[in-house]
Amino acid sequence: MHHWHRTYSGEGLKVKKSLLILFLITLMVAVSFGAAAKVKFWHMYLSGPSKEIMDEIIAEFNETNKGAIEVEDLAISFWDYWDKIRVSMAAKQEPDVFLHDLGNVGMRASTGILLDLKPYLLAAGFDPEEVFFEGPLKMCSYEDGIYALPLETDVRLLFYNKDLFRQAGLDPEKPPTTWEELLYYAEKLNVLDKNGDYEVVGFNPLYGQSYFWMYVWGKGEDFITEDGDIVVNSPGIIQALEEWVALINELGLEKLLSFGANFGWGAADAFIAGKVAMGIQVGNFIADLAMYAPDLDYGIVQIPYPVQNATWSNGFSLELSSRSKNIFAAVEFALYLLSDEVQLKLAEGISSLIGNRRAAYQSDLIEDPQWKMQIEALEFTKFRPFILEAPLWYETLQVATEEAIYGTKTPDRALNDAQKLIEAEIQKYKMTH
């Protein structure tokens, strides 16, 4: 060592250079002899075809990057996943790469635990706006950065029973496209029994994934003002709730509730049992239909709208921990999972939709009209806006909707109260942050 010091300038530089080369050689040797960077990856693909595909994808990655990066994955069941990741984050034990809820990325991003992926995406030549669907990508953004990648997502569509259409004298190939058509068809499809109770409901607004906010968006209204504040009691929204309540009252709340009480899930689902002619469901429902009612002749169509096309989504994001010891390796893996080839593969295995837009349009699945319709819906889908100060605002909205439906409050009173509650939440947040 002190040789180097004594022969500092001139010759020293030569020594320094050779030391550097020696170091690089040692590094390469060390790397190729298994000093691989370990990347811990947690996900929910515990069983079935999605597990097989994920295992394949990871194995391929490990093979390609042998010696340099090794991904260790852990599959946890959906219901338990959230608690496990929550506690591990609290104890600084979270994995390097993990799935999470696409609906509230901002919650984690605001704490600083997520890695901002924007610089890495740009460096790798990924233009996020070109590669990903707009709706999901927006959910991944927080302030100026991109803190998650949209790994998988879904949409809601209108499912309709073609046999019931025929029985009611409607053309099964001409499903409703506007809200008025929907209501018109619904009336024709209602079948009452001799007591006046529902045997078949044409369109049941209380069934499946039909929610009030979808109607709000369908009317061209929104829950966010221009200033970015949350509003649930704008005149447009109040009007929408009045119409929604009127619709339910026309169908008869008591009758709808006791109708709905007959059904459950799986084979006992109302649509699967052939008792709801038109219902809103999530794309994965196709798998349920295949399992429980393979002979049911059904069609799907974009949700009919009063003013503008609307549907909504949830999904899983792919996030990286900013505290990871192997950031570069983790980023490698994350970009790999969102790359076109891998997303194409994932699309075959999981029953949901993928976030990579380029891959979605390139996939063979686009030949399948049902899949194509879902992808098209992804172009205009909305997510429930994420409000950092009141993340559960939509539950307050849902309670208000129920109060208006049950008649315990008028629509405008219910929404005004809800707005006050949400603002109180925001105030509470500000008091403690």
């Binding site: 959230w82 608690d83 929550r86 984050m89 609290a90 919650m107 984690r108 704490t111 600083g112 635990i113 509730l257 006791s258 009480a261 007959n262 459950g264 993340p391 559960l392 309670v399 129920e402 109060e403 049950y406 315990t408 109180a424 105030q427 509470k428 008091m431 403690t432 942050h433």
Partner: protein, 295 residues
């Protein structure tokens, strides 16, 4: 004499500490330390990623002035607690008495009544949801046979809690088992002597059985109240706190705050307020029971 005495007391104390030692360790390390941590956290704002930030009494201020939902949840919790516990302890005792009789086949009966405790809870909850189905569920169908039109149960804001209380009555296997064990300890000769004195069954029950198993009755009541105050899984899985927040219990709120909303400090404050309300209540029970117990 003085010296011998203090040695005796020292020996006594030592024995006490030695026997209690495992718990003294367990209590301080695994129970008190986390509990005191939550007390500390209740005065902070903690997002579970960054270090807790001291905010003094703000959480408590919010809880008492800006959170009507908490008080509604507290009301729901008390309804459930008092609606279920005394009923459970009473029914548990009756069944334990029946099951402790020396008739043939009691073994099978006892196993049957213990079954609910053993079955995994999630499938059981789904089964109950099906049984409570207003139209096709077993319960309303049975009521229909005797001419009663059953309510909407879990779908009704008024009947959701009674439904859950009914469900909890099904799970009294644990209480029964403890009563069975307690009934074993009542000395036989007391009954024999009473019989010779001409006492009838009811008198023997009230004058002998009940006082002798008071410690066990007390245990089941206190632990029953504690368990009921922490009711959570049923409301989380079966009703999601609804309809119209009728089954939103305090523990559900705390779970949602800590695990979904990431407001750990506020959740801690809520837990402590709950604690401050429950403990005096139980101390009262202790005082009342002292008059009845004999030890």
């Amino acid at each position: 004499m003085g010296r011998k005495r203090s040695k005796y007391f020292r020996r006594k104390n030592l024995a006490g500490y030695l026997f209690a030692a495992p718990w003294l360790i367990g209590l301080s390390a695994f129970v008190l330390a986390p509990i005191l941590a939550t007390l500390f956290l209740s005065f902070t704002s903690y997002d579970m990623i960054n270090a807790p930030r001291w905010i003094g009494l703000t959480n408590y201020k919010i809880l008492f002035t800006l959170d009507p939902g908490f008080w509604k949840a507290l009301g729901n919790t008390f309804y459930y607690m008092f609606g279920s516990v005394f009923l459970k302890v009473f029914t548990g005792l009756i069944f334990a008495l029946l099951l402790s009789s020396a008739l043939k086949g009691m073994r099978i009966f006892r196993t049957i009544y213990f079954l609910p405790v053993v079955l995994p809870s999630i499938p059981v909850m789904f089964l109950w949801m099906m049984m409570f189905n207003p139209r096709s569920g077993l319960i309303n169908q049975l009521l229909g046979f005797i001419g009663i039109k059953g309510p909407l149960w879990l779908n009704s804001p008024q009947w959701s809690k009674p439904a859950m209380i009914l469900m909890s009555l099904w799970g009294i296997g644990g209480i029964i088992v403890i009563f069975l064990a307690g009934l074993q300890d009542v000395p036989e000769y007391l009954y024999e002597a009473a019989e010779l004195d001409g006492a009838n069954k009811l008198q023997m029950f009230w004058r002998i059985t009940v006082p002798m198993i008071m410690p066990v009755i007390f245990f089941n009541t206190v632990t029953g109240l504690i368990a009921a105050s922490q009711v959570f899984a049923e409301s989380y899985i079966m009703t999601a706190g609804g309809p119209l927040e009728s089954t939103t219990f305090v523990n559900l709120k705390i779970y949602l705050l800590a695990f979904k909303d990431v407001r750990m400090g506020y959740a801690s404050a809520m837990s402590w307020v709950m604690f401050m309300i429950l403990v005096p209540m139980t101390v009262l029970l202790f005082r009342i029971s002292r008059r009845w117990m004999d030890y």
